[in-house]
């Protein structure tokens, strides 16, 4: 025999069961049971969540790494650019210091007119002490014009082209300059050498020359203006049986580090060869 309950009875019964279960759950009867059911689910969820996080980190990290790498590359390029700028500025600073010193020299010697020139090369031969500068006849340079630095005499223009000139330094072995030794005011001849050393020759025996004495151009011969400082005496060689004394000189100019020079453009060397006696003249 089938017992059929009315629909409303079923609803009421189910509601009572649900309320009953709820009440039991609230009272804590189902705690241990829920622990049994929920724990494995929680563990599974934790594992799945961890795997997902791992994948998420992997995906987002590779994007982060790419971005970081890109930023690093940009920063490296910026760094390199700034390093190059620093080097350029340092070079400009050195040039500025040299030019300031040259300007100071020009102001201290206003009787001459100067034109600045950069040293762009040296003679290919190691036997000659020449420099090549970037001023030429287009800038008013002529053969024979003296060349100075902020410290003193450097050399003389020996060859000129339109945009460049060759300067023979005072250390060149062919160089001979008439000089005066201070304070004794003795005359002597300054000579260069292949090794770059400069010496004084033909110092009269009676001249009082000592280490530390200043050497200046005397102006004799007309090749250089007078009173340009050249260097200092470092040692004197004097023997009684010799006709002349000789001395070693320390130049005021550092010829190994010559970058910018001044050319004296209002000095014209005097050609004294017509005044020199020749063999035909009695």
């Amino acid at each position: 025999m089938n017992i059929r309950f009315p629909k409303s009875f079923r609803i009421v019964a189910l509601s009572l069961v649900a309320i009953g279960i709820l009440a039991l759950a609230l009272s804590g009867v189902f705690t241990s049971l829920s622990r049994l059911v929920v724990s494995p689910l929680t563990s599974l969820q934790t594992w799945v969540s961890q795997q997902y996080q791992g994948v998420e980190i992997f995906v987002s990290a590779s994007q982060d790494i790419r971005e970081i790498r890109q930023q690093y590359t940009e920063l490296e390029a910026e760094n390199a650019r700034m390093q190059a700028q620093i080097v350029e500025l340092q070079q400009q600073l050195v040039e500025y210091e040299i030019l300031s010193a040259l300007l100071e020299f020009a102001r201290a010697n206003p009787e001459h007119k100067y034109i600045g020139a950069s040293v762009i090369g040296r003679d290919p031969s190691p036997f000659l002490n020449y420099i090549i500068i970037n001023r030429g006849s287009d800038d008013g340079l002529k053969r024979g014009m003296p060349v100075v630095t902020q410290n003193g005499l450097a050399g003389r223009v020996v060859q000129v082209t339109a945009a460049g000139a060759r300067v023979s330094l005072i250390t060149d072995p062919v160089t001979r300059i008439n000089v005066r030794i201070e304070p004794s005011r003795s005359a002597a001849v300054l000579a260069g050498s292949i090794t770059g050393d400069i010496t004084l020759e033909q110092i009269p025996q009676e001249a009082d020359v000592n280490p530390g004495n200043l050497i200046l151009t005397s102006g004799l011969g007309g090749n250089y203006p007078a009173n340009i400082i050249i260097g200092q005496v470092t040692s004197v060689k004097s023997r009684e049986n010799d006709l002349f004394q000789s001395a070693s000189v320390q130049s005021v100019t550092d010829f190994d580090d010559l970058n910018i020079v001044l050319v004296i453009i209002n000095f014209n060397p005097i050609d004294i060869s017509p005044l020199l006696p020749n063999a035909e003249t009695p």
């Binding site: 290919p124 036997f127 060859q159 062919v174």
Partner: protein
């Protein structure tokens, strides 16, 4: 190698010599880049225009130098002659030939330079000059010889690949 190519190439070498190499002395000696390049070119068997390259290189160096015009041209031509002589007789050990010819060339150039200076200045302290100028120049030329020889050999092999 085309002679026309020698003008821009050797002009660049001359500028490099004057602006850079001559500013790197060892004691008082400096390297002669033009000499090393000309010798390296001459020792390549496939090069038929070595004499012309030597003349162009010599003229350019003479133009830049304060030594009497023609000194470098003469020296490089003599050196090229020595290189040709060795090239025909000793075809192996190219790099040793490079060193030998560079040594000969340096001695020739320095000998002629010293002769000119003796005529202009008077006496020279030969031992001092050899110690301070010639020996350091030879050392510097030897140091340049290997890289220059390799570069020139590679370039010429690229331009004239062996059949």
């Amino acid at each position: 190698m085309s002679v026309i190519l020698s003008i821009p190439v050797l002009s660049f070498i001359t500028v490099l010599q004057s602006a850079v190499v001559s500013r790197l002395p060892l004691n008082r000696g400096t390297a002669d880049l033009m000499l090393v390049v000309i010798v390296a070119i001459t020792l390549q068997k496939s090069v038929k225009t070595a004499w012309q390259w030597s003349i162009v290189g010599g003229l350019l160096t003479d133009f830049f130098s304060g030594l009497p015009f023609g000194l470098f041209t003469t020296s490089y031509l003599i050196t090229t002659g020595i290189a040709f002589l060795l090239r025909e007789r000793i075809w192996r050990f190219s790099f040793l030939m490079q060193l030998l010819v560079v040594l000969s060339g340096t001695i020739i150039i320095h000998g002629l330079s010293m002769l000119v200076l003796i005529l202009q200045v008077g006496s020279l302290q030969l031992i001092t000059v050899l110690q301070a100028v010639t020996l350091p120049s030879i050392i510097l030329n030897f140091m340049l010889s290997l890289p220059v020889f390799i570069i020139i050999q590679d370039i010429i092999q690229q331009l004239n690949p062996p059949e």
